[in-house]
Amino acid sequence: MSGSRPAADRHGPPPAPTRRRWSLRGARATALVPDVALEVDGRPVPATSGQSLLAALVAAGAWSQRLHPVTGRPEAGICGMGTCQACVVTVAGRGAVRACGTEVEDGLQVTTAAGRERSR
């Protein structure tokens, strides 16, 4: 970052997005206003465009995303960046996709492992 703002945590997260944070108490993020509606396992899930499908699933508490191909146990994304494959879910019209690499869209119909279990 050509020395403009040396970061202690050189690998990750940057300083605060705005200066307001210099109250030690910190500022709670204002909640996002949802602008799209997904359908996850038949239930409506609100989301904000720009979020990943995985983020929307996490926000909705949908943590049983895939059944492990070997153990059959429910699993969920651990990396959020396309490595682990554990967040693979089914999107109508697209088949199996990694939720972390999929953007939310209005009307997206998503089936997770939890949904498949229930419909059994």
Binding site: M1, S2, G3, S4, R5, P6, A7, A8, D9, R10, H11, G12, P13, P14, P15, P17, T18, R21, L24, R25, G26, A27, R28, A29, T30, A31, L32, V33, D35, T48, S49, G50, Q51, S52, A55, A56, V58, A59, W63, S64, Q65, H68, V70, T71, R73, P74, E75, A76, G77, I78, C79, G80, M81, G82, T83, C84, Q85, A86, E103
Partner: protein, 477 residues
């Protein structure tokens, strides 16, 4: 996509800080430059940017990254987003790509690898439960998506990264149960005196710690997570404490031990590697100027060695100087000297930080922990295989055979190897990233000779280098 035979001057792989700076500077110096990046927009992991309504509502989190991306486009770089490099052909001069199922290729006189790093997670029993995430994922959820990973969350492992992750969690309303740092980086001792040479870094640590203290979040040193409990989701973790072990009720755990360079493509290109004595990982052997054992392959950023955004950016500028010279382009001497100075200064700071965060004794993954998440193979099964040869480990236990291609289990394998005096690493194989079969088939038709140019040359790990590897073993081609 570029037609076969129409070579450009440079292809940069990876659109993070190092790749963006390298591509911008090279295009600015007059090189025909292609930048290939997996994501929808430039930035990489550090400058990962908000988009859509989140951007409109919450603002731009990464103004510096946005500015850098604009400079890349303005410099005339041929940016190919949503495009991943999965293999090489033509003795490494051609990179094979996949853009959402559409096969492509780039042929260049020079390759600059800026493939970044992966998070290093060491397994504990129960880490396969939903709700265990890497610190980077927890951070991106909080900052990019504005989503809390859990209601009550523990942040654990080691490294300077854990503090800002905990702060970001506070910002989205998470109750942070604590930060458990396995090392003792914040102790006051003789080594801490070195802090005076890195005031900016120390101030930033202090800022995060003040923020956590104000929120009542304890930062404990020399502590670890021993196990994760729950049925279908994280419910509790067992952690070490001053008076023995105890349980913390949490619904998510952010667990990470720093970062590991993403060297798969460098391995596929046959760049010589060396063993990192701290992590057991194989690192690309790179000169200060970004040069590797292959004159037509350069490395920049975290793939050249973990050091954070400052070092990555400095290395991006440095590698652009090196590449421009190799292409016979004019490089002003003053700029070249400045780039070299920046790399040296940033590396000193990175070295100091790494030394502060050394963990002693090094962690040993428990036998009943799952080592290979993809194939559900435990640490004990891998140790029981009794071999140091990674291909033999694969054959005997299936560890490393899954779709992550060993990215998740390699840190643990390397750690075990280090502790037992037998370093381990898987040879890189095509495809280095999962790609649709149609892409492989199309590449196979277009390029009948799809062999990696060399086996991984390896100076520091005798006997573990494999010969030329067969292509795309898992895909049955």
């Amino acid at each position: 996509m570029t037609a076969v035979g129409s070579a450009v001057d440079v292809v940069v792989v990876g659109g993070g800080p190092a790749g963006m700076v390298a591509a911008r500077d090279l295009a600015g110096a007059g090189a025909r430059t292609v930048l290939v990046d997996e994501s929808a927009q430039l930035g990489g992991q550090y400058y990962k940017r908000r988009s859509g309504a989140v951007l409109a509502q919450a603002g731009d989190l990464r103004r510096r990254g946005t500015a850098l991306a604009a400079q890349v486009h303005a410099a005339g770089v041929d940016v190919r987003s949503r495009t991943l490099v999965w293999g090489v052909a033509d003795d490494g001069r051609t990179l094979l790509t996949d853009r959402a199922g559409e096969p492509g290729e780039v042929t260049a006189r020079l390759v600059v690898l800026a493939t970044g790093a992966h998070e290093r997670v060491l397994p504990v029993p129960g880490w396969e439960l939903p709700g265990v995430v890497t610190p980077g994922f927890a951070l991106h959820l909080a900052t990019i998506d504005r989503v809390a990973v859990g209601r009550r969350v523990l942040v654990a492992g080691s490294g300077p990264f854990l503090l800002p992750v905990a702060v970001a969690l506070l910002d989205v309303g998470v109750e942070v149960a604590g930060v458990l740092e396995a090392g003792r980086p914040y102790r006051v001792d003789a080594g801490a005196l070195g802090a005076v040479r890195h005031p900016a870094r120390v101030l930033q640590f202090a800022g995060y710690r003040a923020r956590l203290a104000a929120a009542g979040v304890p930062v404990r040193q020399g502590r670890r997570v021993l196990a994760v409990h729950g049925t279908d989701r994280v419910e509790a973790v067992t952690v070490t404490g001053p008076r023995g072990e105890h349980r913390e009720q949490v619904d998510a755990l952010a667990l990470g031990w720093g970062f590991r360079p993403s060297t798969e493509l460098a391995g596929l290109l046959g760049c010589a590697t060396a063993l990192d004595p701290v992590s057991g990982a194989r690192l690309v052997r790179a000169d200060d100027d970004g040069g590797t054992s292959r004159p037509d392959v350069l490395v920049a950023g975290e793939v050249a060695g973990i050091g954070g955004v400052g070092l990555a950016t400095a290395r991006g500028a440095q590698v652009a100087v090196t590449a421009a010279r190799r292409l016979g382009l004019d490089v002003p001497a003053a700029g070249a000297a400045r780039a070299a100075r920046a790399v040296r200064a940033e590396r000193r700071a990175a070295d100091w930080t790494r030394a502060r965060f050394a963990v002693d004794p090094p962690p040993r993954p428990a036998g009943n922990a799952v080592l290979c998440r993809c194939e559900a193979v435990t640490v004990a099964e891998v140790v029981g295989a009794g071999t140091a040869d990674p291909d033999a480990v694969k054959g005997l236990t299936r560890a490393g055979m899954g779709p992550c291609q060993g990215r998740q289990c390699l840190p643990a394998l390397a750690q075990l190897g280090l502790l037992d005096g037998r370093p381990a690493a898987f040879p890189a194989r095509m495809p280095v990233r999962p790609v649709p079969l149609g892409v492989l088939a199309a590449a196979g038709r277009a390029l009948p000779r799809l062999e990696p140019p060399h086996g991984p040359a390896d100076s520091a790990v005798p006997g573990s280098g494999a010969g030329p590897t067969p292509v795309a073993g898992r895909t049955g081609r």
